[in-house]
Symmetry: C2
Subunit: 221 residues, 2 copies
DNA sequence: ACCTGAACACCGTTCAAGT
DNA sequence: ACCTGAACACCGTTCAAGT
């Protein structure tokens, strides 16, 4: 048995039955072995989750083409991550809770690596990259949490209505904003909304740049 | 015994010994009772964490003065949340994993409630508010994760050096961004960096607004 | 109405013993 | 070198029995 096969089985279990279904006993049963055998290849459960997340994120990053405008590359990486978390909610949970693991560095470099092409001054790149990363991780965590909380067969529209209904049940004098946006909540598209947030941060980053485009990457749009 | 006393004790344990130390057995021992007694007041552990988080966030929101410019109010709420998570890392973890709980609605309303004062069109407020919220939640999750991973007595400068060293150990051709920002990583201030992200999103939001300030809140700055 | 505490059904992890 | 599987030290949660 190889670590690669163990990790592949971990991904299978997580995808098919969710995070609660992954135990050393279930994993060992699936691999037709004992729990101790797994511990020979891996230090603990955390390493299992980390390796599985690295696998998925590596797949995402491999699918991103870097020869586009910097904003489009950032959008592609962000959306790729979003879609991966949508398909594998446990990836979102893992990204949100394990800082500076390999998968996160990949995303951070991918997003931040475009900033000099946008003309962002070097001393603002750390802040700008962190803003993008933290936004992505925030959404990742929320999506994962929602997937955990809501039964898999729940109707999406009904779920959104429930949330919006809870908002409009609040006192309008104390929660005017929630009342104002409840309608939009009911029929928003998660993916579109996510991208709007990325574009908002990109717009903010645009105000940081020097007026002239950087030599190796003309600003598009 | 009241639920309020139980929750107060939960906060004590979480603050003093961290998330792993909170069990029904430790809590019952501290309250000089049996585990079953707690279940009479509370449905499960999740409710314990939620109630404790609500308590802390309510304290934060009560401390924010709303009679300032909209950007300053947003900064105050974001920083208040940041500081609360810094003082109680478990709050960050809980916020990151439990969507639409009371505490999160408070923060969402607090942040989003300022958007019309900034002249953000109604149909862009949901996206703008979500961007702010998700950024805050992303940072919350990362800080909580760091606090969990790093021993409490670790020297901060040494920790940052370790992370930055790991970055510079990567291949510079594949990770140019990480190399570029490693220096900034070593001596950045978390709080300042967090606020820079908020200001970046605010700058992006500024590009959405109508040119003239809204009637009930002149744009400052 | 509220508390007690043993019992149940699990966990992750370890480790002597095998091959 | 790698696997086995029982055992250890926990968990959250339930529930009959108490007051």
């Amino acid at each position: 048995m190889s670590k690669a096969r163990i990790v592949a089985t971990v991904v299978e279990i997580l995808d098919a039955e969710g995070e609660t279904a992954l135990t050393f006993r279930s994993l060992a049963a699936r691999l037709a072995t004992g729990a101790g055998a797994i511990y020979w290849h891996v230090a603990n459960k955390e390493e299992l989750l980390t390796a599985a997340t690295d696998d998925v994120v590596a797949g995402v990053m491999a699918g991103v083409t870097l020869d586009a405008g910097p904003r489009d590359v950032i959008r592609a990486i962000a959306l790729g991550t979003f879609d991966a978390i949508d398909a594998h909610p446990w990836v979102g949970a893992q990204l949100a809770r394990s800082p500076w693991q390999y998968a996160m560095l990949q995303i951070f470099e991918g997003l931040g690596g475009q900033l000099h092409r946008l003309g962002v001054p070097e001393d603002a790149q750390f802040a700008a990259g962190s803003a993008l990363l933290n936004y992505v991780l925030g959404v990742a965590g929320q999506n994962a949490a929602n997937a955990r909380r809501v039964p898999p067969d729940t109707d999406r529209a009904a779920f959104l209505d429930d949330v919006a209904d809870a908002w409009t049940r609040q006192d309008p004098a104390k929660y005017p904003f929630l009342h104002r946006i409840a309608g939009e909540m009911r029929d928003h598209d998660d993916r579109e909304q996510f991208l709007a947030g990325i574009d908002l941060i990109l717009a903010g980053i645009g105000t940081l740049g020097s007026p002239e485009p950087s030599p190796d990457g003309p600003a598009e749009r």
